[in-house]
């Protein structure tokens, strides 16, 4: 039975991608060898490719939302479009009304009110999605063009393709590197997941954001585990996370120590567990991976 595991954090920069890359490496060398499809769902900061060094096999343009375009030749400059726009996307400049394509939400309210039908909607290419072969298995990833919206849609696309690939090849696990936060992209990335691993940081900010993402997962019915990264930076904070999780009925599956090897491995473009398997962080991540696997394989 195919399972989906998503790695999340709430707060950015807690080490999600480093942990995901290590998981991909560990899976490829363990009993899930050849059984994993990897997806990078953090499409506006897609970093997994920097570690997995994929060979891109297929590139597709991603159609994002649509934007309004005003035909200046027939425009009466009545300003009705600016009045109805609730996204402050229509600007008057030198006696002309112009659409700010970055602010435009694509609602078409201006189109419907224009008395001379001078406004139409145009689809925008908002990024690219890729199918790649990485050193640890097929990788589905994407790049959102800077400033584009709709990352929820692109996330869904990436995940859906990864899932279909897993079904087609009869692979057992879709490993998803999730985005930070709790909004649209996270909801899109977490929907349908069998298990979420939260990489928490034992900092005031990390604990706060972990609790918010746990709330989101509860809301959508996704079971969660928590591991604590850079745990020794503030051991009291790590203990507080464990207490808070215990109170919420969420299992904690390990502490990963602060280890400069993680950054060094990133610079080298390698998963930390491959770069230096005996490093303290590598050993800790390997232990977390075993517990996550056990939890994934446990009957629901």
């Amino acid at each position: 039975m195919m399972k989906q595991l998503i790695v999340l954090s709430g707060k950015g920069g807690t080490g999600k991608t480093s942990v995901t890359a290590a998981f991909a490496h560990l899976a490829a060398g363990g009993r899930l060898a050849g059984q994993v499809v990897i997806a990078d769902a953090d499409v506006d900061a897609a970093n997994l490719e920097l570690v997995l060094q994929p060979q891109v096999l297929e590139t597709q343009p991603f159609q994002g939302g649509q934007v309004a375009v005003i035909d200046q030749d027939t425009c009466l400059v009545c300003g009705g479009c600016a009045d109805v726009c609730r996204f402050d996307a229509i600007i008057e400049r030198d006696g002309q009304y112009l659409v700010d394509p970055i602010a435009c939400d694509g609602c078409a309210a201006c189109v419907y009110q224009c008395p001379t039908e001078s406004i139409h909607m145009e689809p925008q290419v908002a990024g690219k999605s890729y199918v790649s072969e990485s050193r640890y298995g097929p990788l589905y990833h994407a790049n959102l063009d800077p400033g584009q919206e709709n990352s929820g849609k692109l996330v869904t696309l990436v995940k859906q393709r990864a899932r279909l690939r897993a079904l087609d090849d009869d692979r057992q696990l879709v490993l998803v590197d999730g985005p930070p936060g709790i909004g649209c992209p996270v909801i899109a990335a977490a929907s349908g997941a069998d298990l979420a691993l939260i990489v928490a940081e034992p900092t005031a900010a990390g604990v706060h954001d972990m609790q918010r993402v746990l709330g989101t997962l509860r809301h959508f019915g996704v079971p969660a585990l928590v591991c604590i990264n850079k745990a020794d930076i503030y051991p009291e904070g790590a203990a507080a996370i464990e207490t808070s999780c215990r109170a919420d009925g969420v299992a904690t599956v390990g502490r990963i120590p602060f280890d400069a090897t993680v950054a060094t491995a990133m610079v080298a473009g390698e998963a930390v567990t491959a770069f230096r398997p005996a490093a303290p962080a590598s050993l800790a991540i390997a232990a977390v991976w075993e517990r996550v696997l056990a939890s994934l394989e446990a009957p629901a």
Partner: protein, 121 residues
């Protein structure tokens, strides 16, 4: 009765597509005569609300029943409001729309009693 089957192709021999809102296409079949037409799913490229859009499209085709693998909450609410019966066919075994039609005619498909997946985004 007019029945819609979600498919990944453009005819009655196309593979069944277990997704509803994001199905590639819909095969509209008259379950009494077997006459069919295929229709591309206009919701395929929708940013959000694919289930709603697909449901409106299917209702517009005049379907009284639909067969798919899963229905998100919004698709479920929309199809229910339109009075369209939702049947479930498992998506894990490869089969064609014609196979699904035969199962439907044999009364072998269960009806969905609630949304079967979280369809958000």
């Amino acid at each position: 009765m007019k029945l819609v089957i979600s498919i990944a192709g453009d005819n009655l021999q196309s593979p069944f597509d277990a997704r509803f809102g994001r199905a590639a296409a819909f095969c509209l079949v008259d379950s009494d005569t077997g006459a069919w037409t295929a229709h591309a799913n206009p919701a395929l490229e929708a940013a959000g609300g694919a289930g709603v859009q697909a449901a409106q499209f299917v209702a517009g085709l005049g379907a009284r029943a639909v067969v798919s693998g899963a229905y998100g909450p919004k698709a479920y609410a929309s199809l229910s409001a339109a009075g369209i019966a939702m049947h479930l066919a498992p998506g894990n075994a490869p089969r064609t729309a014609a196979d699904v039609l035969a199962q439907f005619q044999a009364g072998a498909l269960n009806q969905a009693q609630a949304a079967t997946q979280d369809g958000r985004h």
